[in-house]
């Protein structure tokens, strides 16, 4: 990246860092959610945008992190920050368990298997009532100030974006792309595709686990239905595709634009909100399959690391 890009980036970061002192708590809450979506869409990008293996159950890692955080806070008395970070461990463990067999599946079969994973995890959590509170979920003490969560979520979003940059500028990143482009050719050229897919999958599970943990603390209450909705996965996917899969800034752009869009439409047209969101999904898939940055990249020959 050029010095100018770094300069602008640092300015934006500095502005975001001091923002909570100057804006209403409504704006701070909105930004927390947006950070969360940046982290989620960016994580989905790491497996699906790079390798082409579409994960339809990515919210499972978010939910696993949320329950890990909530249980550590409520049962083990952990402070929220380490409890949230610990969500990465369980999410990564789940990714390892499920990724090893499922990443052998091709195309739609992987997508469906991931969808199934999400349902299984949710069902298990509902089943072990004594431990997880079953359908009624877990309540945590209300949080007194949201600023710490703001910074924690913000750092998660920045970390995912930096991680994506590091990956895409490395041979590892190129190799993930080669799996998306032609897995058989990649394999025949000496690339251990099974292992690289698993690495990407693990990395893609870490931050959803973390922001899931933070989210549990932020929301003060979690229950299975609200924590594992398919809509969350779909939103990650749409954000990433809209901004541009396989790019650094695509998920950021998509998450910010769609969060703003949702907020505006949600506030004004509560009833048509779902329909508009659905229409947007169709429009993105039909008109902008490569996403905003994908199109710009191709038209203006932008470097890969945008």
């Amino acid at each position: 990246m050029k010095p100018l890009t770094w300069g602008i980036g640092l300015l934006v970061l500095a502005a975001l860092a001091i923002m909570p002192f100057f804006v209403t708590s409504y704006i701070v809450s909105f930004t927390i959610q947006t950070f969360m979506w940046v982290a989620l869409a960016g994580s989905w990008n790491l497996i699906s945008g790079f390798t082409g293996y579409v994960s339809f159950g990515h919210v499972a890692f978010f939910g696993t992190g949320a329950y890990t955080g909530a249980l550590l806070i409520s049962k083990a008395g952990w402070p929220w920050l380490p409890a949230g970070l610990a969500g990465s461990v369980t999410a990564a463990a789940l990714a390892l368990l499920i990724g090893y067999p499922c990443l052998r599946l091709k195309g739609p079969y992987f997508a469906i298997a991931m969808l199934g994973l999400n349902e299984v995890v949710r069902a298990l959590i509902s089943y072990f009532e004594d431990f997880t509170g079953g359908g009624s979920g877990i309540s945590l003490p209300p949080i007194l100030s949201i600023e710490p969560v703001y910074y924690a979520m913000g750092l998660s979003a920045v970390s995912v974006t930096l991680l994506t940059y590091v990956i895409i500028t490395s041979q590892f990143g190129l190799r993930l792309l080669s799996i998306r482009e032609d897995e058989i050719a990649a394999e025949a050229m000496g690339i251990n595709t099974a292992r690289l897919k698993l690495y990407a999958f693990l990395l893609s599970a870490v931050f959803p686990g973390i922001v899931g943990g933070f989210y549990a603390w932020y929301a003060s209450h979690i229950e299975p239905l609200g924590t594992f909705p398919l809509l969350t996965t779909i939103t990650m996917i749409i954000m990433c595709l809209f901004g541009g899969k396989g790019t650094v800034w695509g998920p950021v752009l998509g998450a910010v634009l769609l969060s703003v869009f949702q907020e505006l439409v949600w506030a004004r047209f509560l009833f048509v909100h779902q329909a508009l969101f659905g229409a947007l999904i169709v429009a993105v898939v039909l008109l902008l399959p490569k996403g905003i940055l994908g199109v710009l990249q191709e038209r203006y020959r932008l470097p890969r690391a945008i």
Binding site: S170, Q171, L177, E181, D182, I184, A188, M189, I191, R301
Partner: protein, 236 residues
Amino acid sequence: MRDSLILEVKDLTKRFGGVTAISRCSLALEPRRIYGLIGPNGSGKTTLFNLITGLEHRDEGEVRFKGERIDGLKPHQIALRGIGRTFQIIRIFPELTALENLLVVARSTGGAARRRALELLAFVKLDRLKGEYAGNLSYGQQKLLEFTRVLILDPELILLDEPAAGVNRTLLNDLLEAIRGLKEQGKTVVIVEHDMKVVMGLSEKLFVLDYGEKIAEGPPEAIQNDERVVEAYFGR
């Protein structure tokens, strides 16, 4: 004897449902030679390459590379041991640039790998297109790119599945020169090619497949006059 062979295929058989694509096929390749593999359409040439490189799993028989069994290894393991290949139907990475297509498979990532990649691109006259998405290159250029992508792995044995098809005349001569050059560098090449003039001119020894069986082997002059070969090609 055995150790002096670079590749040894023994009684290899591969069936697809009712079709026996490769039938008790045996070959022995010595290092530093150029071999031709010919046979009518559907005679099993591509399948044989797929079996050697691990993309298909054999039903019977064995494959040895430098004396060691490689049937049963994963394709990437076989590639890293030193067997490179191209595909009859091009398999480049279309949304990677020409240069990235080479860097992505290079064994190291330093300046040396980059220099080597640029050198290879220059060699097939693609250096000026290094930043172009491979999918935007012409058919012939994509074939040449795929050829250089094999070379960056520096394999000892190179399997070329119809490398000349669709490559224009001027580049074709460079390509043939390059293939001869590989032998000078100590490599072994097996080339599948439909253009008899090309394959006869290039190969020191030919193997002929028909319905998955090896029906003849020998120097080009002998093959041209072999009755079974003539019949396989023209007799039906």
